[in-house]
């Protein structure tokens, strides 16, 4: 032990030690990224399984069908008649049908404003009170009038009505069933769930006139197509990358894939060959969606309230009819009805590779953590370095003897240099304070002003480092290498801290930001090598937050041929911030952007040697 300590202490003073961190950081990044690519292999992912035994998915006979199809057709005619009608008229009709079934009906108005647009509407919901139960628990069946793409939920609405009529006949429900009809897929459900938990802003969202018990689960149906289908697509991403309990997805999987014999797809992988390539693609798509943190369907708003929810979307051409998806919902509801406890057994943090393979948090988290740790390692290294006397790398005066030069070159490691903290702290703080500007701008401007604002901001953000750098250089107390080291150290320390905490909440976002900002670890002030400087600048500007946002908005989406366009992306981001409370903009503008500014400032830095400074002063 003592020897070990002694050797460790001597190692501390070893100048070679300070050469190590960049390689260690690089190793962290490489291992982190490679780790991620290993996950789809059989050895690292696991087959899914049902943890909560009470669910018993696919163990019951489902009886939905027969003459219920006649009722469905009738309700479909009613829905078709309402296709062009206004929200209120639609709700009037739905309410009359629901009341005719003997359900309790409530309505709720909401108005959100985002990017200068007003999103308002009226939710209608009907409560089927558990025949023998008390109002302690409830499960929700959501049908949005329009799905995320804006298509009319032409088969979904009548199917939910038919199911309501069918469920009413059963006496076995232990929980209330709430049928929720919302005018759109994001704002409506959000308003309803907020109000259900009394977490709403009553000036924008009305309170609910009628309530039931604690929500135990929710299924949303997005069934816009009118023809027969082949498989069902499970959408499970919640707001801010939160996910529903894996047991819920597994139950739907069991009921749809096992009992009903239809295919199940996730993450818009319409065809999945269980190969490494497909698994990786599924996982990366999932990570991208999780990282963006946007609401992906009516179910998304439920998840932040610890209500597990998924959206079912039938797709593909096959022979399954509406009754089949009705039976899937029936089977899933029977499973949820069995629940004695809130879903808690299975995983809440996972990456799905295919419908029945997943990676749990213990396996994937090191990947993002390693990427985040590289910043911390470098930050510590720079801190240590800043505490040591500077090395005069270039010795210009040849008059000095070799001995003298050696003396200067190998500084006495036992002498600690006092750190000048004020300037670096101010610079990093200014970067972070400035980050409020884009956050405020992009979430409060009106839609038409968004693109000009973004262009203007991009230009300013590109110029800002030069301005800052000039300011640092020309100011009366010019900046030393130590101070540049400290600027980088603080900035990287913050980045590492934020990203490693974020990794536990939203793994994908932390990983993506970590990878994009990885060059920040390696850039240094290089006043004497213009090539290196230009190279670093190019890399940093290519991977700047503004460039990434711009490129991402014009790149084609997952299933589209063309990108959404910058205006649309900014509008969506503002909408997500205002309505669903997505915090991705905070991470981009308040974590990544300041770190990037600090990085570019240090690349542009023209540090003065401490000696020079003294001379100047003298």
């Amino acid at each position: 032990m003592p020897r070990l300590l002694a050797s460790a202490l001597s190692l501390r003073r070893d100048p070679r030690l300070l050469k190590l961190p960049p390689y260690l950081s690089l190793l962290c990044i490489v291992v982190g990224v490679v780790w991620l690519f290993l996950l789809p292999l059989d050895d690292y992912s696991r087959r899914t399984y049902i943890s909560e035994n009470a669910l018993l998915p696919g163990q019951v006979h489902t009886y939905f069908g027969g003459s219920d199809q006649n009722v469905f057709r009738a309700y479909k005619h009613e829905t078709d008649e309402l296709a062009d009608k206004g929200n209120i008229e639609v709700n009037d009709k739905l309410e009359s049908i629901a009341k005719g079934l003997g359900l309790k009906v409530g309505r709720q108005n909401f108005t959100y404003s985002s990017a200068g647009n007003t999103h308002s509407g009226q939710n209608m919901y009907a409560i089927l009170q558990a025949p023998r139960g008390d109002a302690t628990e409830a499960i929700v069946l959501v049908a949005a009038w329009k799905n995320v793409k804006g298509e009319l939920n032409r088969s979904g609405i009548p199917l939910v009505l038919t199911l309501a009529r069918y469920f009413k006949r059963w006496s076995l429900w232990s929980k209330d069933i709430i049928f929720l009809f919302t005018p759109d897929s994001i704002a409506g459900p959000q308003a309803w769930v907020d109000a259900y938990h009394d977490a709403h802003d009553s000036s924008r969202v009305a309170s609910l006139p009628l309530k039931s018990g604690a929500l135990q689960g929710a299924i949303a149906l997005d069934f816009a197509r009118e023809t027969r289908f082949k498989s069902v697509h499970i959408v499970y991403d919640g707001v801010n990358g939160q996910l529903p309990n894996l047991d819920l997805i597994n139950s739907v999987n069991h009921v749809a894939g096992g009992q009903m014999g239809m295919g199940v797809a996730i993450q818009e992988m319409w065809k999945h060959s269980t190969s490494y390539h497909d698994r990786l693609q599924t996982m990366l798509r999932g990570m991208l969606k999780q990282g963006l943190g946007l609401a992906s369907g009516p179910h998304s708003s439920f998840i932040p309230y610890h209500v597990d929810a998924v959206t079912l979307q039938p797709f593909g051409d096959g022979w399954q009819d509406e009754m089949a998806i009705g039976r899937v919902i029936e089977g899933t509801f029977r499973s949820l009805n069995n629940l004695l406890e809130h879903l808690h057994q299975s995983f809440f943090f996972y990456l799905l590779m295919q419908r029945d393979r997943f990676v749990s948090i213990g396996t994937y988290l090191p990947s993002a953590m390693l990427v985040a740790a590289n910043f911390t390692i470098m930050a510590i290294a720079l801190w240590v370095k800043s505490g040591q006397p500077e090395v005069q790398e270039v010795i210009t005066e040849k008059t000095k003897t070799a001995e003298e030069a050696e003396k200067i070159a190998v500084p006495n490691p036992h002498v600690a240099v006092e750190r000048d903290l004020n300037l670096p702290l101010v610079v990093v703080a200014v970067c972070h304070v400035l980050s409020v500007v884009p956050l405020y701008l992009f979430n409060h401007l009106s839609e038409s002003a968004l693109i000009p604002a973004f262009v203007l901001f991009s230009v300013l953000s590109a110029i800002l480092p030069f301005l800052l750098s000039n300011l640092l250089h020309t100011s009366t107390t010019s900046t030393t290498t130590q101070q540049y080291n400290l600027i980088q150290s603080f900035s990287l320390l913050l980045l590492g801290m934020f990203l490693s905490s974020l990794a536990t909440l939203n793994f994908s976002l932390a990983f993506l930001v970590g990878v994009f900002s990885a060059p920040l670890t390696f850039v240094r002030p290089c006043p004497n090598s213009p090539v290196l400087k230009v190279l670093s600048m190019i890399v940093l500007y290519v991977l700047s937050p503004t460039t990434v946002v711009l490129v991402a908005s014009v790149l084609p989406g997952l299933d589209e041929k063309v990108g959404y366009g910058l205006g649309e992306v900014l509008k969506q981001a503002a909408f997500a911030w205002d309505v669903t409370g997505t915090y991705t903009p905070v991470v981009v503008w308040c974590v990544w952007w300041p770190a990037w500014i600090a990085g570019v400032v240090s690349v542009l830095g023209r540090p003065e040697a401490a000696g020079e400074k003294k001379v100047k002063k003298a």
Binding site: M1, P2, L5, Y63, F64, G65, G66, S67, D68, Q69, N70, V71, R73, A74, Y75, H77, E78, G100, G102, K104, Q129, P131, R132, G133, D134, A135, T136, E137, R165, Y166, R169, W170, S171, H197, D198, A199, S202, L210, K211, S212, G213, A214, Y305, H306, L340, E341, H342, H344
Partner: protein, 637 residues
């Protein structure tokens, strides 16, 4: 159903000869309210009141009442009063007892006012309150414990779980129903306990029926069957024991047992061997033919709730097996509350008595024959107004709905929405909550807000608050609020609470389900108490129970934490301790260590062993000699 209807009717006709529109004989007391204060001298009577409700529901109120004179009771002379219960009451010094077993919820919006004005019902689960005779609080607690434990055995319910944390002593909400000579004396203790999570089922019904004089073999009790009772949308079983002293005559001890249930007619009519509600064949569906798209494969369902036909044996699975021979013949055993315009068929030998109020009629029938009632569906061709089929439900004095607000595992809130439907009468009532100790309420957050005046708390509506704070693990919170709701307005009563963290072992096996919070009890005060009306409460209602989610640990976590912390402490402590107690010296100064030291030790040992084996023989002899010498010295001394 429609297809089978004629054959069913024929078979009924052949079995029983119907006597529609029998002459009004004797309009006796039949409505729910008037029976409760009827003749207290008759020893036993029973009555079933059937009231069809809107949305194809049927309320069946069973009421059984028997009396025994106090002197006979004290002399252990039981006739109609159940001996098992009587002895428990005597043993525990109980003066008045109320016991409730309830399930489901009353849908006041569609069914209107509650039966018995809510006086015979409890919140979900088991509820019980009693006036005990005791000198001190401790004695009362002891007697309460005796009583709950004895009743727990008698009714197969977990009443013994009503411990001090679930017991409260309400101050304002309850008044004795019976006539007590010393009603306000200090030796009368009111204790109230509630078990919201208790599931009421058949095992509670059987002992209930055993207390009846006719046991469930004859009379209206023969309809009580666990399958039907516990399939109802709402049901409550009540036992009330109270002393009643008529103005002229001896005091009697009265036991009143009642069962109220709301049956879903559709569901009850399903045959027991085929209870699955499969979709009916398409040609049996009732369709709304006025829709333009109506076709053989498209059917907009017509409102099926309107025209329902039913009979007692369809609903309950069997007819009434004759009247109970012990019952008071002056009280009709079966009454049905439908408008006089509706046709009601009864079996042969029954006498129909119509009430003058045109909304109800009663039937007397002999003990020998089965009794059956059949209500045919009105003419399907005409659009029938619901009012002609069922009596218009009475509007209750108050609607109440309680729910949780907020989310998360740290804090929460309770919001009760109280709506007064009356256009001109304000409602004064007592709102009582008995909350578990782990819901710590913030009393200062209690506020009342009238709907339509957002953000403005109106504390003038609260007149009186009685609050007894919880003590951790010892007693629950008790909150009683006397307040009013102005006419035709909705009032929000809200308060916040904090969720406490339980100890690891205090969680139930299904910890993630949440914890049931008992129903709030709302007692609407009787305004004209002076006018000879001795009833304290005009109307009672209970909210639904709530499910409170407490912070629940992942129960595999403690194990992980223990292992992790132990490892961390072992490493940290071990290293630190080592560094602290070790003295560091230069290698050459210190004692020899390592391999060299071991080798030296081994050498020394080997040398020792060699020496020993050499000397082995002599040593043995020597020792013997030594022992002998010792012995000799002892002897010489």
């Amino acid at each position: 159903m429609r297809r089978f209807f004629p054959s069913f009717l024929l078979s009924l006709l052949s079995l029983l000869c119907f006597s529609p529109y029998a002459v009004v004989a004797n309009p006796s007391t039949t409505s729910a309210d008037s029976t409760s204060v009827s003749d207290s001298r008759s020893d036993y009577h029973e009555q079933l009141i059937l009231r069809p409700l809107p949305l194809s529901a049927l309320l069946a109120s069973f009421n059984f009442r028997s009396n025994t004179s106090l002197s006979a009771f004290e002399a252990h002379n039981f006739r109609f009063f159940p001996r098992s219960l009587g002895q428990i009451l005597q043993h525990a010094g109980t003066r008045e007892l109320h016991l409730r077993f309830s399930l489901g919820r009353w849908d006041a919006e569609s069914w209107g006012a509650r039966p018995w004005n809510g006086a015979r019902e409890g919140g979900t689960g088991v509820e019980m309150w009693a006036w005990l005779e005791a000198e001190t609080d401790e004695e009362a607690d002891h007697k309460w414990l005796t009583l709950t434990n004895a009743l727990s055995g008698l009714f197969c319910a977990s009443l013994n779980f009503i411990d001090s944390t679930r017991t409260t002593r309400p101050v304002m909400s309850f008044q004795p129903e019976g006539n007590h000579i010393d009603a306000n004396a200090t030796n009368m203790h009111l204790l109230y306990g509630v078990l919201p999570h208790e599931v009421v089922c058949t095992e509670n019904l059987t002992p209930f029926l055993k207390l009846l004089p006719c046991k469930g073999k004859a009379g209206i009790a023969s309809l009580l069957d666990g399958h039907k009772l516990f399939d109802s949308s709402w049901q409550t079983m009540a036992i009330d024991i109270r002393p009643v002293c008529p103005e002229d005559g001896e005091c009697v001890l009265q036991i009143e047992q009642s069962i109220d249930m709301v049956l879903d007619i559709d569901r009850s009519k399903r045959p027991r061997d085929n209870p699955i509600p499969r979709p009916p064949p398409a040609h049996e569906m009732k369709c709304n033919t006025s829709k333009p798209y109506n076709a053989h494969d498209t059917c907009f369902p017509a409102d099926s709730a309107a025209n329902q036909d039913w009979s007692i044996s369809q609903i309950f699975g069997r007819p009434i097996k004759g009247a109970c021979p012990l019952t008071d013949p002056t009280v009709s055993p079966v009454c049905i509350q439908v408008p006089d315009s509706r046709v009601v068929f009864a079996s042969e030998g029954a006498i129909e008595k119509k009430n003058p109020d045109q909304t109800s009629r009663c039937f007397d029938f002999p003990a020998e024959n089965d009794f059956e009632i059949f209500l045919p569906a009105p003419d399907g061709s005409v659009e029938v107004v619901v009012d002609q089929l069922v009596n218009k439900p009475e509007t209750p004095l108050l609607y109440a709905e309680r729910s949780f607000t907020g989310h998360g595992q740290e804090r929460g809130g309770v919001q009760t929405i109280l709506r007064n439907p009356s256009p001109d009468q304000e409602v004064e009532f007592i709102y009582m909550e008995s909350l578990p100790w782990f819901m710590r309420i913030y009393l200062h957050t209690i506020s009342v807000r009238v709907d339509g005046q957002p953000g403005k708390a109106d504390d003038s509506l609260i007149h009186e608050v009685y609050y007894r704070p919880a003590v951790d693990r010892a007693r629950g919170t008790q909150l009683e609020v006397r307040m009013t709701v102005p006419p035709a307005s909705t009032v929000f009563l809200t308060y916040d609470f904090e969720k406490s963290i339980l100890r690891y072992t205090e969680y139930p096996p299904d910890a993630n389900r949440g914890f049931d919070v008992a129903a709030a009890i709302i007692t609407i005060l009787n305004k004209d108490q002076s006018v000879g009306n001795s009833r304290f409460a005009a109307y009672n209602l209970r909210t639904t129970t709530l499910l409170c989610n407490l912070p629940t640990p992942d129960f595999s976590m403690p194990y992980n934490v223990i292992i992790f912390t132990s490892t961390a402490i072992a490493l940290a402590f071990g290293g630190m301790f080592n560094i602290l107690v070790r003295r560091f010296v230069a290698a050459n100064e210190g004692p020899e260590n390592g391999l060299k030291k071991g080798v030296n030790k081994l050498k020394a040992k080997l040398a020792g062993v060699l020496k020993k084996t050499k000397k082995g023989g002599d040593k043995k002899q020597g020792s013997i000699f030594a022992a002998a010498e010792e012995v000799t010295t002892e002897k010489t001394e």
